[in-house]
Amino acid sequence: MKYIEEFRDGELARRIATRIRAEAHPERSYNLMEFCGGHTHAISRYGIKDLLPGNVNMIHGPGCPVCVLPIGRIDNAIELATHHSAIVCTYADTMRVPASNGLSLMKAKARGADIRMVYSAADALRIAQDNPTREVVFFAIGFETTTPPTAIIIRQAQALGLTNFTVFCNHVLTPAAITHILESPEVRELGIVPLDGFIGPAHVSTVIGSQPYEYFAEEYQRPVVIAGFEPLDVMQAILMLVRQLNDGRAEVENEFTRAVTRQGNEKAKSLVAEVFELRPSFEWRGLGEVPYSALRIKPEYAEFDAERRFGITYRSVPDNKACECGAILRGVKKPVDCKLFGTVCTPENPMGSCMVSSEGACAAHYSYGRFKDIEVRAA
């Protein structure tokens, strides 16, 4: 595949790995958080850890949109389908996130709720057009990458004069989450989580640009390298972070120049600004209430806001007591530190959200990496 295989070249990877090994100072460690689930997935799927020296540690961040959805919001979505008889449309992985009472959207569907998996926001709009007598709700989730398409369908719904279509908005913001992690007592005061630098988001940054990261690189003195989701992108970003840390620099660098500019996508940003506004606070699974970290639909588009139309009230639901998703999402713990990991919590029966999406830290480790925890003999 042209333009993809080039970023998966094993020979080049080994060359970068040699450079990382040569430049990383053996007397110190390099603790790097990849914020995005896309990076977590690439690291696990391509076995990138095998290529890194022992003192370069990767910490999985909370950038998996499915993983950070709190139970209460999933409960709300199920209620829309069961109590309000709406057709609820959502992206694939969301179907499997555990909700209250042993339910999930998928299990609610099996019990008769009309819940449909869509590949794009536009599909949800089409379902509304095809079912004029039914209420159709798009359960919108995701970071800045999936927000512009949601803005577009809200505007299209308005242009089409649709009266049976609404959006249950759960879009969240990356910079707020990173700041929240850096402000957390574990990082700031206790030093439980040594966090030396960040691999910055790929797709999110194509929309918001590299500029929003400049604030916390400066304020918290942590280097950020924005990287693409291909394995060579990740390797190159790790090398760039090692170099910044060696030089004592804390800058925003862009490895993903083929797609990310400093300003980002102005058209997408203005579209989002027209349709959405900041929520004063939003609950993240694992992080709790994070101020100004999510979006809601502006009053001008109130008629397309499912929360207003159906009078949704949010109720926070605590995670299973033994579930360590919260600590894992903050980088405090690793998947194997959780008692549930691989025992009662598996990708088939996820207890916590990190086990749901292939971008979740637990699912990625379970699917691709767990053999490293135990001895395997070759023939």
């Binding site: 799927r45 391509y46 290529l51 590949y119 990496g369």
Partner: protein, 349 residues
């Protein structure tokens, strides 16, 4: 002698007609559909007897039997349809024991309202597939369910076959050191089906690989009678089949990503759909495991057969009490190839 007058004055309307409840009711309409469609298309001496069963003699020795239900959506796809798929699927399940498939039985569940024209196309495709494979459909059954309770047509086929003496093929026979082979490119069927999904329209030139593999198996078994395991990686794909072998044989596997044949179009489609070709379904490929010393001969035999032209040795069986399937990635790292979680796609076979 005067010709016996047909019981049915008006033939079944295969142009505009639709399946209705009477076609499964056991009465005259059902008899007419069977006579004008199924018996005519499958035409063989056993069906001609008109019994509810088929009577035949079998060679002495070991027989195998397999059954497979087909619920694919859409019913017709590039490279095939549910009809030929139902024939190939069961023939392959029988053949994976090393057997020569002999006879098939077919059960149809039709949905009220399903166009008879589509049914005719599907049945004729099934008949052609059975004829090409040389495996007759000797008995069958038809039921009709109310509209909304089926999805056009579901087909269950059952097959029996004869295993040649000396052939011992089973999923529990893999041993550390054995070679793992695949008969060709993986993921073609799954991607062909996906390209037609209503909410997933993209254009592709990929055709389903649906095919009966008993010819390939016969030449493999003749040349390398020591083959230990054979299986066609249908739902769940290559990754799942290797895990099945690992669990049954209590061994691990180590495969090499760079050696697995995947069409460029398939890997491109998987790339933008977020799928892994290792878990995408195949309907005309097989995985074989054999002792290492026979691997080259088996590979040469497979490549000499049209259905194995792209065959490759992709890895080896290793000792591992945890029964992990591991893969050396093209990138240079190692990872687990786990069981498929949930399902990649609804209803593909």
């Amino acid at each position: 002698m005067t010709k016996v007058r047909s019981d049915y004055i008006r033939p079944v309307d295969f142009k505009n007609g639709r399946v209705d409840m009477t076609h499964g009711g056991g009465g005259r309409a059902m008899a007419q559909l069977i006579e004008e469609l199924f018996a005519r298309a499958f035409a063989n001496e056993w069906l001609a007897q008109g019994n509810d069963n088929a009577l035949f003699s079998v060679p002495g020795g070991r027989m195998v039997m397999a059954t497979d239900s087909h619920v694919v959506s859409p019913l017709e796809f590039p490279g095939g349809d549910i009809g030929c798929l139902a024939v190939h699927g069961t023939i392959n399940d029988v053949a994976m024991s090393g057997a020569r498939p002999l006879y098939l039985a077919a059960g149809f569940i039709l949905e009220e309202g399903f166009p008879l024209a589509s049914l005719k196309r599907i049945v004729e495709s099934m008949a052609a597939a059975a004829r090409d494979a040389g495996v007759p459909i000797v008995t069958g059954d038809t039921k009709v369910v109310e509209q909304g309770k089926g999805d056009g047509v579901f087909i269950t086929t059952t097959g029996i076959g004869f295993v040649p003496p000396g052939v011992e093929i089973s999923g529990d026979r893999a041993r550390p050191g054995d070679a793992v082979l695949v008969s060709g490119t993986i993921g073609d069927h799954g991607v062909a089906i996906m390209s037609l999904r209503e909410n997933l329209t993209f254009e592709t030139t990929i055709r389903s690989d649906t095919a009966a593999l008993h010819g390939l198996v016969a030449s493999m078994v003749a040349s390398v009678p020591t083959i230990r395991c054979l299986r066609d990686p249908t739902r769940g794909g290559l990754g799942t089949t290797l895990n099945e072998f690992a669990r049954q044989s209590a061994v691990g596997m180590l495969i090499h990503e760079a050696k697995i044949p995947v069409r460029a179009e398939v890997s491109a489609a998987c790339e933008f759909l977020g799928l892994d070709p290792l878990y995408v379904a195949n309907e005309g490929k097989l995985i074989a495991i054999c002792p290492p010393e026979d691997a080259t001969r088996l590979l040469d035999t497979m490549r000499a057969h049209p259905q194995g032209a792209d065959a490759a040795i992709i890895g080896e069986v290793v000792a591992d009490t945890h029964r992990f399937v591991q893969m050396e990635t093209s990138f240079g790292g190692r990872r687990v190839v786990d069981w498929l979680t949930g399902e990649q796609l609804p209803r593909i076979c």
